[in-house]
Structure formats: structure tokens, C-alpha cells
């Protein structure tokens, strides 16, 4: 066995096997990554987005319902806003339900769905009573809002956080260093170099064309696939650390803004819980200011332009709210309501609307960025599977062709 031709044969066989193994390892790793990123793009991210929509749109609906209530005869745009948010939220529930596989989360979604139906019923009861001139309408509105804030939104938040964590987990799986591939490719190269040196010494031919060609093929593959994987990994990391994080922060700020608006308008219904509402309003305003500060001071925040003047809008909104407080303190309810609902320069509504628009733009930009990052992380990998296999296998063939004449010399 350990005659020279035997050794050449063994070396050739090992090198060929390593070539095949390299082809197998690179192709599975790369295609797994592509599959994972495809799953994120087609499944996990849309699911998380749907969950975020449920959370956001239901907050919008609750704030709109309260706003409509204190305006007496509901203004048409506010009514439309409520209806559109409920439509968006329920459509998002349908989308999310087709993507959820976790039994626990399906139950959470089931609860959300069931309670939204109850919620809309309560809102209509409040509306009808208000229209009929029955003061009990405000109690129904409070009940509806408590159901939304204490139950539905809590579930929606849980669903959103869980699905967002899913996007994170699947994206970070694509940022891991592909150790097995590196090991296989490394040993192929090392063994190839060793084989070439051994052969050169044994056969007194300095260069074996087949082995050199094989080595070149492996080198091209390493550079090509390696670069692609590195770029793809960077893309995935960017998606996870920057875009997904931005999306999450903006979603949270957007929801807090809606809840603060609900607090502001519900305090004008005056059930005796005004102090608690005010406190909650200021807490939410502080939370938003903090989150926005943190967001804008981040290096990689996706959409700073839209949110650059958000702090200013928050300050404006707070100033309007202080005017509301001042009117309430002297018992001028109508003037206070006018500030909350009015569209004048210093009223609450323009500040809130502009903030909402900025956040909604930021949300869109972050989501687009997230999907672009993931899609480009996947795109750079395209072709590398086939290319890697072709190059590895041709390396194996080249080695075989290079060794064949040497082997023949011993016949």
C-alpha cells in the first residue's frame, strides 16, 4: 500500500473527497443562509410587521374614539380615522393568524381578536348614548378604553415583542461565523499544499498543473464565496442592530404617542380620574422624549430626518396641554376642549398630527431599510451555491487530472 503509486492514489482520493466535501459544506451553509433570510423576508418579518400594525392601529383607534367623543358630534375625519384604524388592525389580525405557529401566541391573538369585537361594540354603545343625550356614554367609553389599554394592548404588545424577537433570532442566525465550512476549506487548502510539495519532491517536477489549477479554483471560490458571506453577514448584522432596532423604537414611540393622546382627551371627559390621567400623560411624554433622544443620538439610526424636530413637536404638544390645564383650572371646559381639538397654531391637534406623521414616516423608512438590508444580505449570496459547487468539484477534477499522468509513470 505505502508504495509511491499507492500514496499518489491515496492523496488524489483524499483531495478529491475534500473537494467534494468543500462543495457540500459551502453549498449547504450558503443555501441555509439564503433559506433563513428568505424565511425572514417572506414570513417572520411580515408577521412581526402585522403584529406591530395590530398594536399601533388599535392605539390609534382608541385615541380617535376618545377624541370623537369629546367633540360632541364627531367630526367626519376623526370618525373615519377610527374606522380605518379598526379596519387596518383587523386585517393585520388576519395576516398574523396565517403566520403564527406558536400555540401560546395563537391564543394571545385569539384573545385580541375576540376583545376587539367587544371593544367596538362598547364604543358604539358609548356613541349611541352620547347621541341620545345620555351622560352614561362617558362610562361606556371609559370601559372600552380600559379594555383596550389594560387587556388588548397588553396582549398586542406581547405578540409584537415575541414576533420581533423572532426576526432578531433568525437574522442573527445568519451572522454566525460558518466554522465547519472554514474548517473544511482550510484543511483542503493545507492538504493541497502539502500534497503539492510532496509530489514535487517525489517526482522532481516543480509544478503540477492539475494541483495548481485545483488550488486556483479553491482560491477563487474562497474569495468569491467568502466575500459574499462577509457582505451578507454585515448586511444581516446591520438589519438586526440598526434597522430592526430603529423600527422597534419608533413603533414604541408611536404607540406611546397614541396613548398619551388618549390620556389627554379622556381627561376632558372628567370622571374624577383626571389626576391619574394627567400623571400618566406626563409619564408617557417623558418616556417618548427619552426614547427619541436615545434614538437620535444613536449612530446608525435609520431615519433621523423625519424625527429631527420630534422633540420640538413634543414640547409644543406639552405647551398646548398646559393651556388645557389652565382652562380646566378655571372651569372653562369648552375652551379646554377647543385647545385639545382645535387646529390652531398652538393647539394640541397640529402638534400631535405632525408628530404622528413624522413617526409614521420613520416607521415606513425603518421597515423599508430592514427589508432592504435583509434582501441585499440574501442577494449577495445568490449564485454562490452553484459557483461554490462548480469550483470545488472542478478543483477535484483538476487534481485527478493532474495526478493521473504521475500515477501512470509507475505502471
Amino acid at each position: 500500500m505505502w508504495t509511491t503509486p499507492g500514496r499518489i492514489l491515496a492523496i488524489g482520493f483524499t483531495l478529491a473527497m475534500l473537494g467534494v466535501l468543500t462543495a457540500f459544506a459551502t453549498s449547504t451553509t450558503v443555501s441555509n443562509r439564503q433559506d433563513a433570510l428568505t424565511t425572514v423576508l417572506d414570513h417572520t418579518e411580515p408577521l412581526s410587521f402585522a403584529a406591530g400594525q395590530i398594536y399601533t392601529k388599535l392605539s390609534v383607534a382608541d385615541a380617535a374614539a376618545a377624541t370623537a367623543f369629546i367633540s360632541g358630534t364627531e367630526p367626519q375625519p376623526v370618525r373615519q380615522r377610527y374606522e380605518q384604524s379598526i379596519t387596518d388592525a383587523t386585517v393585520a389580525v388576519t395576516q398574523a393568524s396565517s403566520g403564527l405557529t406558536d400555540e401560546k401566541m395563537r391564543e394571545v391573538l385569539g384573545r385580541i381578536n375576540a376583545r376587539v369585537a367587544v371593544y367596538t361594540g362598547l364604543i358604539e354603545t358609548a356613541r349611541t348614548n352620547n347621541r341620545a343625550g345620555n351622560p352614561v356614554g362617558s362610562s361606556y367609553l371609559s370601559e372600552a378604553s380600559a379594555l383596550m389599554q389594560d387587556n388588548i394592548l397588553v396582549d398586542a404588545q406581547r405578540l409584537y415583542e415575541q414576533t420581533a424577537a423572532g426576526v432578531d433570532a433568525e437574522t442573527s442566525a445568519s451572522t454566525r461565523v460558518p466554522a465547519p465550512v472554514i474548517l473544511v476549506v482550510g484543511s483542503t487548502i493545507v492538504f493541497g499544499l502539502f500534497a503539492h510539495r510532496w509530489l514535487a519532491r517525489r517526482t522532481r517536477r516543480r509544478v503540477n498543473l492539475g494541483l495548481v489549477a485545483g488550488g486556483l479554483a479553491i482560491a477563487v471560490m474562497v474569495i468569491w464565496v467568502g466575500t459574499a458571506v462577509i457582505i451578507s453577514t454585515a448586511g444581516s448584522r446591520q438589519a438586526k442592530d440598526t434597522s430592526a432596532e430603529s423600527l422597534r423604537v419608533i413603533t414604541n414611540v408611536a404607540i406611546t404617542a397614541q396613548q398619551a393622546r388618549a390620556d389627554e382627551t379622556l381627561s376632558l371627559i372628567r370622571r374624577g380620574d383626571e389626576d391619574a390621567r394627567k400623571k400618566s400623560y406626563y409619564q408617557r411624554m417623558d418616556t417618548m422624549a427619552e426614547q427619541l433622544d436615545a434614538y437620535l443620538s444613536r449612530k446608525g439610526a435609520v431615519d433621523k430626518d423625519d424625527l429631527a424636530n420630534a422633540a420640538q413637536l413634543l414640547a409644543k404638544w406639552r405647551a398646548a396641554d398646559e393651556r388645557i390645564n389652565a382652562y380646566i383650572a378655571v372651569g372653562n371646559y369648552q375652551a379646554a376642549t377647543q385647545v385639545a381639538l382645535g387646529t390652531g397654531e398652538d393647539d394640541s391637534t397640529p402638534a400631535f398630527d405632525n408628530l404622528e406623521r413624522a413617526l409614521s414616516d420613520g416607521l415606513k423608512a425603518s421597515r423599508t431599510q430592514l427589508r432592504t438590508d435583509i434582501a441585499s444580505a440574501r442577494r449577495v449570496l445568490s449564485g454562490t451555491t452553484v459557483g461554490g459547487v462548480a469550483l470545488s468539484l472542478s478543483a477535484a477534477v483538476a487534481v485527478a487530472l493532474g495526478l493521473w499522468p504521475r500515477l501512470n509513470e509507475y505502471r
Binding site: 360632541g72 395563537r106 391564543e107 385569539g110 384573545r111 375576540a114 376583545r115 367587544v118 362598547l122 348614548n129 352620547n130 347621541r131 343625550g133 345620555n134 351622560p135 352614561v136 356614554g137 362617558s138 362610562s139 361606556y140 371609559s142 370601559e143 372600552a144 378604553s145 380600559a146 379594555l147 372628567r270 370622571r271 374624577g272 380620574d273 383626571e274 380646566i328 383650572a329 378655571v330 372651569g331 371646559y333 369648552q334 376642549t337
Partner: protein
């Protein structure tokens, strides 16, 4: 499976295995039909509703340690009366403390957004006597707990807010003569068998937190299950949503709930009499006399009857205005 050797035994075993597998998987899929999982949710309840643990309140003090309904006599002359409200007149408006959650007494009219009601009209009569104009009034919204503090801090001139005159309160603030007597009764659906307080035993009954009505319910024997809420309007919601079977408090407040739902009626004899008075700062005796003068006027000139007819006819035929009692 095995092409070689022609071993029929192995082939048979394989066929048998496959058959068993098919049967097992077939059984598995039919024995557990995957329908939607059952889900039961608690019904929606008014914000802040809680069921109180069964607990009997101590019986009320048998002897009242004060002369509950006696107040100060109005000024005999117009000049003295005007001197007593000179500072209010200089300010240009009367500051009145009330709430907006008591239908028929002080509530926000959903249509106009204005605060109206029996108490609001009463305050307007006081303003009429001060300024000759019933509209020179500024409202401060007070919660029940705040009204005494507001009077003590003088952030309001008077509190007109279905405020029951009690001896402990008399030590902290002054009261006008009684302007209305209320009686604690029961509001129940017309279809309900509840007719009196003894029928409430073991049933769920609603009351607002921190009220004397709730304490009185705890004195019923055997005790009802008491469900407490934030405002009286929440009791109406709880009743309409079938979470309680009755509401018990002053008939004046019950009437305000009843107007919003034709399927309800007020039943039972009075469980307790509640004298309503206008609250004033303890040391502002001049204003007490002035307000008593206004109350004496509206009793005499028929305004009281007009107001009662405007807001409270639901409570039955118009009673005579409560007769004033004076200390001096």
C-alpha cells in the same frame, strides 16, 4: 424492499410493518380533530369595578352629636346682605364647586357641552342675588374627596354638589339650610323581583366608592354582595351589562340613572334620609346667611318649585320645599 435473496418472510414482515404504520397514523389523525381551541373571556366591566369582600359595617352612631339641619338666619336688611358678599361682587363672579358626573344635578349636557342641572340652577340663583345676573358663575370641578378641602382653602365660595349634611362634616365646614331631602332607595330592572332592601340579600348590588350609600348597604342583613365602582354612571353600565342586579343610593341620583334607561324603576321604601345643603367655609358666616336668604327667597317666590319641576319630576309629585331651621 429486498430485491436480493428472494426472502419472502422479510417481504411479508415489511408489508405488515407498512400496514401497521398506515393504520396507526390513520387512527392518530382521526382521533384528535384539530378544531379551534375553546376560549372563555371575562365579560367587560366598567373601568375600576371591584367586588368588595363580605364585610359588615358597624351600625351608625345612634345619637347624632349635633343639630344637623339648623343653620344661620338670613340678614334682616338688604344692606347687611350686600356687605357680606362685597368681596365676591368686587371679583365679578361667584366660584362654585361641583362635579359633572351627577345626572340631573350637575352634569355635562352631551349636546351643548354646558354644565347643567338642579344644583347648577341653584348656584345661578345665588349669583342672581349677588349680581342681579345668574350667569356670573365660574365652575370648579371637584371630586367628592376634594370638596371640603376646597372650602377650607377658600378656592371656591360655595359647593353645590348633592352634598349631604353630616355631623362630622359640620365640624369642618358650614352648611346652608336644607335645600332638598333625598332618600336612599333601590334601582332595579322592571323585570326583577327585587322590591325592597331585604330582597338584596346575596345579590350583587352596585355602589360608588367612598359614599355613605355603600356603608348603608353593608348594614343590610343578610348582606348583599357589594360591587364598587368609580362613578354612579358606572353602576348603570354594570346594571345594563348584567354584572349587578340593582343599584342603591339617593333617589335623586337613581332618578338620574333611570332617565337614561326606560327598563329600570326605583323601588322600595326609603332606607335613609339625606339632607342636602350648600357647603360654605366654616368661618364665612356672612355668606351662610346670604345663601340662606337666597334659599328663603326661592322657597317663597316659587322658584324652588319651578326648578324641581324642571329636573326632578321623576321622583314623584312635587313636595313642599324643605322648611328651614335656624339656630338663632
Amino acid at each position: 424492499m429486498t430485491g436480493r435473496g428472494g426472502s419472502r418472510g422479510w417481504a411479508a414482515v415489511a408489508v405488515l410493518l407498512v400496514a401497521v404504520l398506515l393504520v396507526v397514523t390513520g387512527c392518530g389523525s382521526t382521533s384528535s380533530p384539530s378544531g379551534p381551541p375553546g376560549l372563555t373571556l371575562a365579560p367587560p366591566t366598567p373601568a375600576g369595578m371591584t367586588e368588595l369582600p363580605p364585610q359588615r359595617a358597624p351600625a351608625p352612631e345612634p345619637t347624632e352629636d349635633c343639630d344637623l339641619t339648623a343653620s344661620l338666619r338670613p340678614f334682616p336688611t338688604r344692606a347687611e346682605a350686600e356687605a357680606a358678599v362685597a368681596d365676591i361682587r368686587a371679583r365679578g363672579r361667584l366660584i362654585v364647586g361641583l362635579d359633572v358626573g351627577s345626572n340631573l344635578f350637575s352634569f355635562r349636557d352631551p349636546v351643548t357641552g354646558q354644565i347643567t342641572g338642579f344644583d347648577v340652577d341653584l348656584a345661578a340663583e345665588v349669583a342672581r342675588d349677588i349680581f342681579g345676573n345668574p350667569n356670573q358663575v365660574e365652575y370648579r370641578i371637584l371630586s367628592s374627596a376634594d370638596r371640603i378641602a376646597a372650602l377650607q382653602k377658600k378656592s371656591v365660595d360655595i359647593v353645590v354638589k348633592t352634598m349631604t349634611i353630616t355631623c362630622p362634616r359640620r365640624k369642618l365646614v358650614n352648611f346652608s339650610t336644607v335645600y332638598l331631602y333625598a332618600y336612599q332607595r333601590i334601582l332595579a330592572p322592571r323585570s326583577s323581583p327585587i322590591r325592597q332592601s331585604s330582597d338584596l340579600a346575596g345579590r350583587r348590588v352596585c355602589a360608588a366608592r367612598g359614599t355613605t350609600s355603600l356603608e348603608r348597604l353593608q348594614q343590610i342583613s343578610p348582606t348583599p354582595i357589594i360591587v364598587s365602582v368609580v362613578t354612579w354612571a358606572d353602576c348603570l353600565v354594570a346594571l345594563q351589562q348584567r354584572q349587578v342586579e340593582a343599584v342603591s343610593t339617593d333617589d335623586t341620583i337613581l332618578a338620574g340613572l333611570m332617565t337614561q334607561d326606560p327598563y329600570l324603576h326605583i323601588v322600595g321604601p326609603s332606607m335613609n334620609q339625606e339632607p342636602y345643603g350648600i357647603g360654605i367655609n366654616l368661618h364665612n358666616t356672612g355668606l351662610v346667611r346670604f345663601v340662606n336668604g337666597t334659599l328663603a327667597r326661592i322657597r317663597a317666590d316659587g322658584t324652588w318649585n319651578t326648578l324641581y319641576r324642571k329636573w326632578l319630576t321623576l321622583l314623584g309629585p312635587i313636595p313642599p320645599p324643605p322648611a328651614p331651621r335656624y339656630l338663632d
